[in-house]
C-alpha cells in the first residue's frame, strides 16, 4: 500500500473528534470513547477511524512504545533489523485485535517497547530527537512499514473502517487510559489506507483533526527546515509536528504555541496593550510558517495533557464539557452526553482559544 504515500494529493476531509481526559489521572476503559465517537457515526464515512490512549502501559512507562503496521512480512523484517540497529527492543508483540466483520484487509500490526542510547557522534540530539529520526526513517525508507505511534506510555490504534469498529477491533475496552482521543474520518481522497487514519502521532503527541489546512503546503515546507519530513501527505500530520516543534523543541509555552498556530487578526493585535502587542507581533512575524489557515478543530493528546483548539474563526465545531474530574472535547454535544449525560458545565470555546486539560498537581502518570 506504499503507493498511497506518494500520491500527489494531500489528504482532506471532514471528521468527528472526541477526547476525554481524567485530570485526576484515574484510568478508564476505552469503551466510553468508542460510544462517544459512535454517536457521531454520521460525520465519518467508514474510511478511517482511530484512537490514542495515554497511560495504557504503566508497567513500561519509561519505554517508547512503537506501534507499527506492515503490509508485508518483508517490511516487518526490515524494520526489525533497523530497530535492532538503532535501539534496544525490550519487548515486542502483536497488537491484540479481534476478528471483526467490518474490518478487512488489515495489515500486520505489531508493537515494540524500546529505548534508545545517546548517539555519541551527535551529542546535540537527545533521545526524543533520535526517536523522531527513527520514526521518520522508517516511514520514508522502508516500503510498506508505517509507524502509528512511538511515544511513552501511550499508543495509537487506527485503521480503515468506522471508528467504533476500529475500537472494537483493537479491543480498546481492555485498555485503561487517563486520556482517550478518537477520530471518525471522512476522507475525500483515499481508497483506504490504515496509516492515513487519525490520530497522527510523533513521540507522545497524538492528534485528531477535523477540517482542512489550506496552508498545508507552506506548513510542510516550514517544518522541513526543522527536520520533519511530512511523508503522509496529510495536513493533520503537520499539526502534530508543529506541536512537537513549538513545544518540545522550541520550548514555547502551550498558549504561545497555540497562538502561533491560530494567531489573532492584525486588527485585534493592534488593539492589544503594548507589551502583549509586541509579543503577538513577534509571534506572527517569526512563526508565519506555522500559522494554520483554513477550518480546523483538533484535539491533541500528550503526556499529562489534552488540548483542544480550533481555527481563529472557528469554522469547525468544538464543544467542551466538564463532569467531575473529566474534561470532554467533541465535535458535537451529543457525543459528550452519550457518555456523560449530565455534565457540570458545557461550553463552546472561542475560535483559536485553546482548551487545556492537565493532570492535577502532584499526579504522576509516567
Amino acid at each position: 500500500m506504499a503507493t498511497n504515500r506518494t500520491l500527489p494529493f494531500k489528504d482532506m476531509g471532514g471528521c468527528s473528534i472526541s477526547g476525554v481526559m481524567d485530570e485526576s489521572g484515574r484510568r478508564f476503559s476505552g469503551e466510553e470513547i468508542i460510544r462517544s465517537i459512535r454517536n457521531m457515526h454520521e460525520r465519518s464515512n467508514g474510511l478511517g477511524g482511530g484512537f490514542a490512549a495515554y497511560g495504557i502501559f504503566p508497567e513500561r512507562a519509561d519505554q517508547y512504545c512503537m506501534q507499527l503496521m506492515f503490509d508485508t512480512p518483508e517490511a516487518k523484517r526490515e524494520t526489525e533489523a533497523l530497530l535492532d540497529e538503532r535501539c534496544n527492543v525490550h519487548y515486542a508483540e502483536d497488537i491484540p485485535t479481534r476478528p471483526h466483520e467490518a474490518i478487512t484487509d488489515e495489515p500486520l500490526l505489531h508493537r515494540y517497547f524500546v529505548s534508545v542510547e545517546p548517539d555519541k557522534s551527535r551529542p546535540h540530539l537527545d533521545e526524543n530527537d533520535l526517536m523522531v529520526e527513527l520514526h521518520m526513517e522508517i516511514n520514508t525508507t522502508i516500503q510498506d512499514a508505517f509507524v502509528f505511534s512511538a511515544g511513552k506510555n501511550m499508543g495509537c490504534f487506527k485503521g480503515v473502517g468506522f471508528p467504533e469498529d476500529i475500537g472494537e477491533y483493537f479491543r480498546l475496552e481492555e485498555y485503561e487510559a487517563y486520556t482517550w482521543i478518537a477520530h471518525g474520518r471522512f476522507p475525500t481522497n483515499t481508497t483506504g489506507w490504515w496509516g492515513g487514519a487519525h490520530p497522527f502521532s510523533i513521540l507522545d503527541w497524538a492528534i485528531v483533526h477535523n477540517g482542512e489546512i489550506s496552508s498545508y503546503g507552506i506548513n510542510k515546507r516550514y517544518l522541513r527546515n526543522f527536520g520533519y519530513e511530512c511523508t503522509l501527505q496529510t495536513d493533520t500530520e503537520v499539526i502534530a509536528y508543529l506541536f512537537d516543534l513549538l513545544i518540545r523543541k522550541h520550548g514555547l509555552p502551550l498558549e504561545v504555541a497555540c497562538q502561533a498556530m491560530a494567531p489573532p487578526f492584525w486588527e485585534d493585535i493592534e488593539r492589544m496593550p503594548e507589551r502583549e502587542q509586541a509579543q503577538a507581533k513577534a509571534i506572527r512575524a517569526v512563526y508565519g510558517g506555522a500559522l494554520l489557515n483554513g477550518p480546523f478543530a483538533v484535539v491533541v493528546g500528550s503526556t499529562g495533557r489534552m488540548i483542544g483548539f480550533s481555527d481563529r474563526t472557528k469554522l469547525r465545531p468544538q464543544v467542551c464539557a466538564r463532569g467531575g474530574d473529566r474534561l470532554y472535547i467533541a465535535s458535537e454535544e451529543a457525543a459528550i452526553r452519550t457518555i456523560c449525560p449530565d455534565p457540570d458545565v458545557v461550553w463552546h470555546p472561542d475560535g483559536g482559544e485553546p482548551v487545556v486539560g492537565e493532570l492535577q498537581a502532584g499526579v504522576q502518570v509516567a
Binding site: F9, G14, S16, E42, N45, F186, T188, N189, T191
Partner: protein
C-alpha cells in the same frame, strides 16, 4: 475627470452609401454607441461605446455597418499586452476589481481539440444512424453496486433504484439564474429542456412561479445565498443541486446588484426588492466535507429521498479527491465545471487564472471514482465550455454521463459572447433585466433555437457513435479506447488516460 486613457476596443464603420438613416441601429444599441443628430438628420457613431456585440450590424437592413477591432497598436510587447495595459488604465482610474463576463478567453490549450475520435473501418461495422436505433437515453443518479433478486421461479427485483434523471440527449442546460439572465431566457431554457427531454437548471436564483410548470424538467439549485429556497422549491424540481463552485469563479461568491432585483426577481429569490443579492463564497453551513453531507441529507430529508441531490463543484487542483468526497457524502451526481466555464459576472483575475481544464478534471475524477469503486454511486456531469457535439462525445468517452452547456445555449439564443454580461446591458436581451432589452428575446424563438441546437447535436452524436459502431451511449461512456491524443505530452496523455494517436 475625463477618462482619456480609455480607448475604444472596436471601430464601427458606417457605409454612407448604404445607410438609409432608418435609426434601427440607434434604437438597438443599449450602450448608446449610435446617435441620431436631429439637426443634421444623420446617424453618428461613438466607437468608444461599442462592445462588439453586433446587434446593430445584425439588424441593419442595408448591411451598412461593419465592426472591426480598433487598430490602436501599442508598441509590440509580448509581456505588456494591450489588455494588460488597458486593465491598469481602468483600475487606476476607477479603482476596484476588474469585472468580466462569459468564460475564460485566454489562449490556453483546449484539450478537446487535441483529442480525436475513432471510427470503424472494415474490421468491425459502423452503424447507419438513419436506419437503426441509436440510443442516447441516459440516467443520472446513484445506482446500487449490484441488484438483489428474490429466489423462486420468477426472480423478483428486490432492490429499489433511487431517483434518477432521465435524459433523451446527454446535454443539459447548466445553471443560469433568473437574475443573471432574463426571464425570457430562463423560460426558453426551461421550455426547450421540456421539449427535448433534458433538464435546465435554475441556478441559484430560485424558480419563478410561472416556470414551475416546467419544473419536472428542471434541476433546482441551492447555493450559498439560499435564494428562493424553501421546501416547496426543493420538492418542485426533478433534482436538487448544491452549488459549491463555478468554473468561472472557483472559490468566490457573486453579487446580483440591487438594481437588478426587480419585483419579479425579488419574488423569485424571496428577498426584498432592490437589495443586493449577495452569494457568499462559501456556504456558511459548509466548511468541511461532513458539512456537505449534512446539507445533502438535510435536503434528502426535506424531499423524503424522492429527488436526486447532486453537488456542483469547480474543477480545481484536487478535484478528484473533492469529487470522491462529494460522492461519499451522498451526492447522487457530481457536476464539475471547468475553468473555461461561463459566468454572468466574475472578477477577471479569477476567471482567467483559477481552476483547471475540464478535460483533465473529468479524466481524473472518472478514473478516481472507478479506482475507489464508487463511480456508479453518482452520475458525473461536466461543464465548462462545450462548443459542439464532438466535445460532448469526447467528454462522454472520457467518462462523463452528460454535459452541461451554458454559453452554447446562450449563443443559440443570440449571444455574441461580447463578455459584457456584467453590465446588465445585454443588447441581445439575455443577460439583462432592463425591460427595454429583455423584450428582445422572444422565448418562442429562443426555445425553438435551443431545441434545434440540442436536436442537431443529438443527431451528430448519433452519427459519431454510428461511425464507431456503437448504438447505445452506455458503450461510449467512459470508453477511452475511442479517444486518441495529438499534440499532447506523455504526462498529459497519462492524466487523460488515453493513448497517443497511432497507438
Amino acid at each position: 475627470m475625463p477618462n482619456w486613457l480609455i480607448e475604444p476596443d472596436f471601430v464601427v464603420e458606417r457605409d454612407p452609401d448604404r445607410c438609409i438613416q432608418c435609426e434601427v441601429c440607434v434604437r438597438q444599441c443599449a450602450n448608446e454607441a449610435h446617435e441620431f443628430d436631429e439637426e443634421l438628420q444623420e446617424v453618428f457613431t461613438d466607437s468608444t461605446r461599442c462592445v462588439g456585440c453586433h446587434r446593430c450590424a445584425s439588424l441593419c437592413p442595408t448591411d451598412a455597418i461593419s465592426i472591426r477591432p480598433a487598430e490602436l497598436e501599442f508598441r509590440p510587447n509580448e509581456n505588456w499586452s494591450a489588455q494588460a495595459i488597458r486593465n491598469i488604465y481602468k483600475q487606476s482610474e476607477q479603482g476596484g476589481v476588474l469585472l468580466t463576463g462569459m468564460g475564460n478567453p485566454e489562449p490556453l490549450p483546449i484539450y478537446w481539440d487535441r483529442m480525436l475520435l475513432n471510427a470503424s473501418q472494415v474490421t468491425n461495422p459502423s452503424i447507419d444512424p438513419l436506419r437503426e436505433p441509436m440510443e442516447l437515453l441516459t440516467h443520472i443518479g446513484s445506482k446500487p453496486q449490484r441488484l438483489e433478486f428474490s429466489g423462486g421461479e420468477t426472480p423478483q427485483l428486490e432492490t429499489t433504484l433511487g431517483p434518477q434523471l432521465e435524459l433523451h440527449v446527454p446535454v443539459m442546460f447548466s445553471a443560469m439564474s433568473y437574475g443573471s439572465i432574463s426571464y425570457n431566457a430562463s423560460e426558453a431554457l426551461a421550455r426547450a429542456a421540456n421539449e427535448v427531454g433534458t433538464y435546465a437548471n435554475t441556478g441559484e436564483g430560485g424558480l419563478h412561479e410561472d416556470l414551475r410548470q416546467y419544473a419536472g424538467r428542471m434541476i433546482v439549485q441551492v447555493a450559498s445565498g439560499r435564494f428562493g429556497v424553501d421546501v416547496d422549491y426543493l420538492n418542485s424540481g426533478a433534482a436538487v443541486e448544491i452549488k459549491i463552485g463555478q468554473g468561472a469563479k472557483p472559490g468566490i461568491g457573486g453579487h446580483l446588484p440591487g438594481e437588478k432585483v426587480s419585483a419579479d426577481i425579488s419574488a423569485t429569490r424571496m428577498i426584498p426588492e432592490g437589495t443586493d443579492a449577495l452569494s457568499p463564497a462559501p456556504h456558511h453551513d459548509i466548511y468541511s466535507i461532513e458539512d456537505l453531507r449534512q446539507l445533502i441529507y438535510a435536503i434528502k430529508e426535506a424531499t423524503r429521498y424522492r429527488k436526486p441531490v447532486g453537488v456542483k463543484i469547480a474543477a480545481v487542483h484536487h478535484v478528484a479527491a473533492i469529487a470522491s468526497g462529494c460522492v461519499r457524502a451522498g451526492a447522487d451526481f457530481v457536476a464539475i465545471d471547468g475553468y473555461r466555464g461561463g459566468t454572468g459576472a466574475a472578477p477577471t483575475m479569477i476567471r482567467n487564472n483559477v481552476g483547471i481544464p475540464i478535460e483533465f478534471a473529468l479524466a481524473a475524477v472518472d478514473s478516481r471514482l472507478r479506482e475507489e469503486g464508487i463511480r456508479q454511486d453518482a452520475g458525473l456531469i461536466v461543464a465548462g465550455s462545450f462548443r459542439c457535439a464532438a466535445d460532448v462525445v469526447k467528454a462522454i468517452a472520457l467518462g462523463a454521463d452528460a454535459c452541461y452547456i451554458g454559453t452554447a445555449a446562450l449563443v443559440a439564443m443570440g449571444c455574441h459572447v461580447c463578455q459584457k454580461c456584467y453590465t446588465g446591458r445585454c443588447n441581445w436581451g439575455i443577460a439583462t433585466q432592463d425591460p427595454y432589452l429583455t423584450r428582445r428575446l422572444n422565448p418562442n424563438i429562443a426555445t425553438r433555437r435551443l431545441v434545434n441546437l440540442l436536436e442537431s447535436w443529438a443527431h451528430e452524436i448519433q452519427e459519431i457513435m454510428g461511425g464507431m459502431g456503437i448504438n447505445a451511449i452506455e458503450s461510449l461512456r467512459g470508453n477511452r479506447d475511442h479517444l486518441r491524443g495529438v499534440n499532447l505530452t506523455d504526462r498529459e496523455l497519462n492524466v487523460l488516460g488515453i493513448q497517443m494517436a497511432g497507438e
